[in-house]
């Protein structure tokens, strides 16, 4: 009597009921006035909230006097698994600690592991919350201390965002 089971549609009806229920729920709430039943973020217009520990792009920090906090201990350069950081030590007038004359960051190879921040004993670098890092030009990934692509502000590469 096994073939009689083929006439029992409960298995397919159960699935249809579930998908129908989801369809109904989303159909009536698919606008921004209602609490959404769907699980998508409408990305460029609405951005998801990032966790406080989010690992974005590497950024250098200045202290209250506008002075770069980095003292060229080279810990980040050593720990970096992909060797994307290059620091050249230098001196600056009126500053006891060494001062980085160059701090080069090759973002195209960066894997955002946060080892550099962890190794930094002076809290002079962080990973910020910027995740829109795509760009048309490879050169834009080479970040330094000067120029439009610098290590202190968010990079200008988030130019694909169309949010107004």
């Amino acid at each position: 009597m096994n073939w009689l089971k083929a006439f029992n549609p409960s298995d397919i009806a159960g699935g249809m009921k579930l998908t129908g229920k989801r369809f109904r729920q989303v159909l009536f709430t698919a606008n921004r006035r209602k609490v959404p039943m769907h699980f998508v973020a409408e990305y460029p217009e609405v951005k998801v909230k990032l966790a406080p520990r989010y690992r974005g792009r590497l950024t250098m920090i200045k202290d209250e006097q506008g002075e770069i906090k980095c003292v060229c201990c080279l810990a980040c350069e050593k720990i970096c698994p992909t060797q994307v950081i290059t620091i050249i030590k230098g001196k600056k007038e009126g500053r006891k600690m060494p001062f980085p004359t160059r701090y080069d960051f090759e973002m195209e190879r960066c894997i955002f592991c946060e080892f550099c921040v962890e190794s930094c004993g002076f809290d002079s670098i962080i990973l910020n919350h910027q995740f829109e890092l795509a760009t048309y030009n490879r050169e834009d990934f080479s970040l330094g201390m000067e120029g439009s692509e610098n290590m202190f502000e968010n990079s200008a590469v988030g130019k694909f965002s169309v949010a107004e």
């Binding site: 073939w3 083929a6 397919i12 699935g15 249809m16 998908t19 129908g20 989801r22 369809f23 729920q25 989303v26 159909l27 698919a30 606008n31 921004r32 006035r33 209602k34 039943m37 769907h38 699980f39 998508v40 409408e42 460029p44 217009e45 169309v162 107004e164």
Partner: protein, 388 residues
């Protein structure tokens, strides 16, 4: 009023143009509905914007659609312009013909697939009433004062014509798969050939139930009499036949759970892997037009067509309330609503069910559907013999 030859020709041309325009408009809307329905079922939003962002030509459209996202009911319509974008994309894509392909057959195949899918509509009755949908005003040149009927032709072998012409479409798929001279399309084409040949049989057999009950092959006569002149017991074979027919219809149109010819995760895209641009668009048009045909036949024969109640139950209502009652009047809205619901079922099923394997599909067709449709036919014959 007898029509002159000129009037007949002009009238037919008008009807053909209107019909084609409606199909061409409905098919893209179904593709849009497919995105939306499957999106909503999968707790996401489906298409809400068109490519290009908030700048340039697409800027105002996208901004308007973003604003529409706040409006409660109409937010479903977000992304509607995507069907125009789809069409534009297909038209402007580069038309690649593989070097080793059989060029003539490769070009012919989409047409062979699409022309029958559209030709089938000639025999479908959208509204059976003799008063037609509307009357042209007398001031109209040539066709002034004539009625615009709800069907193109009403040939007395309409159903045979539909079955015959619709099955020509499979040649397009097989030839397209073969002419591509590629391995996945070949497998897809062969699967499709075997599948459609097998499912023709139970499909015709399940359609024989209404034919037997009415004793006619004319689409219009069938759809009217099935709704209005059936005894109560006839609902049994019609009810069962509806599900058997729909199953076979899914297989005939290559839709999930029988989409083996395309089977994205197995055969990449099946028979149309090598097709680009509007040639692929033709295959799509044919598939969606076939969906409309299958839904229209199911709605007309099994779901009561232009009347309110399905499975011939309308005749009981006519007995109870009299033919003049408001609930017993035919309306094209009932028909359109039923076709629309069935098209929704197509998409709903697609979002829910997995896909059969090739041998299991054959198994279902030959070992299950053919016997049960035969039994159903026997029930219908018994009813015809005893009650009618």
């Amino acid at each position: 009023m007898p029509m002159t030859l000129t009037q007949t020709v002009v009238m037919a041309l008008i009807q053909i143009v209107v019909l084609l325009a409606v199909i061409m408009a409905v098919v893209p809307i179904i593709t849009f509905a497919e995105r939306k329905v499957i999106g909503y079922v999968q707790v996401r939003l489906g298409a809400t914007r068109i490519a290009g962002g908030h700048v340039g030509i697409t800027g105002p459209i996208n901004r308007a659609m973003w604003a529409l996202g706040r409006v409660p009911v109409f937010s479903i319509l977000r992304g509607l312009p995507i069907f125009m974008a789809d069409g534009l994309k297909l038209l402007t894509k580069e038309d690649v013909i593989p070097e080793k392909a059989d060029k003539l057959v490769f070009i012919l195949a989409p047409a062979i697939c699409m022309v029958p899918a559209f030709a089938v509509f000639a025999a479908i009755t959208f509204f059976p009433g003799a008063e037609g949908l509307f009357t042209f005003p007398a001031s109209f040149p040539i066709v002034g004062g004539l009625k615009f009927m709800g069907f193109l032709t009403d040939i007395n072998v309409g159903l045979l014509y539909i079955l015959g012409v619709a099955s020509v479409g499979v040649y397009g798929i097989v030839l397209g798969g073969w002419a591509s001279n590629s391995k996945y399309p070949l497998l897809g084409g062969l699967r499709s050939a075997a599948q459609i040949v097998s499912y023709e049989v139970p499909l015709s057999m399940s359609l024989l139930v209404p034919v037997l009950l009415v004793g006619s092959l004319s689409f219009r006569e069938l759809s009217v009499k099935l709704a209005t002149e059936m005894p109560l017991v006839a609902a049994v074979p019609l009810f069962l036949g509806f599900f058997f027919y729909l199953t076979c219809g899914f297989a005939e149109t290559n839709r999930v759970p029988f989409d083996l010819a395309e089977a994205e995760t197995e055969l990449v895209s099946g028979f149309h892997t090598e097709y680009t641009g509007m040639k692929m668009g033709f295959f799509f048009l044919a598939e969606y037009a076939n969906m409309i045909v299958v839904s229209a036949i199911a709605a007309a024969f099994f779901l009561g067509g232009h009347y309110l109640l399905p499975f011939g139950l309308q005749s009981q209502l006519i007995h109870a309330l009299g033919a003049g009652h408001a609930l017993n009047q035919p309306s094209i809205l009932f028909f359109v609503g039923k076709v629309g619901f069935l098209l929704f079922v197509f998409l709903w099923i697609r979002a829910t069910l997995p896909r059969y394997r090739y041998d299991q599909l054959m198994h279902v067709g030959w070992k299950f559907l053919i016997p049960v449709t035969l039994v159903n036919l026997f029930i219908a014959a018994a009813i015809k013999f005893v009650w009618m």
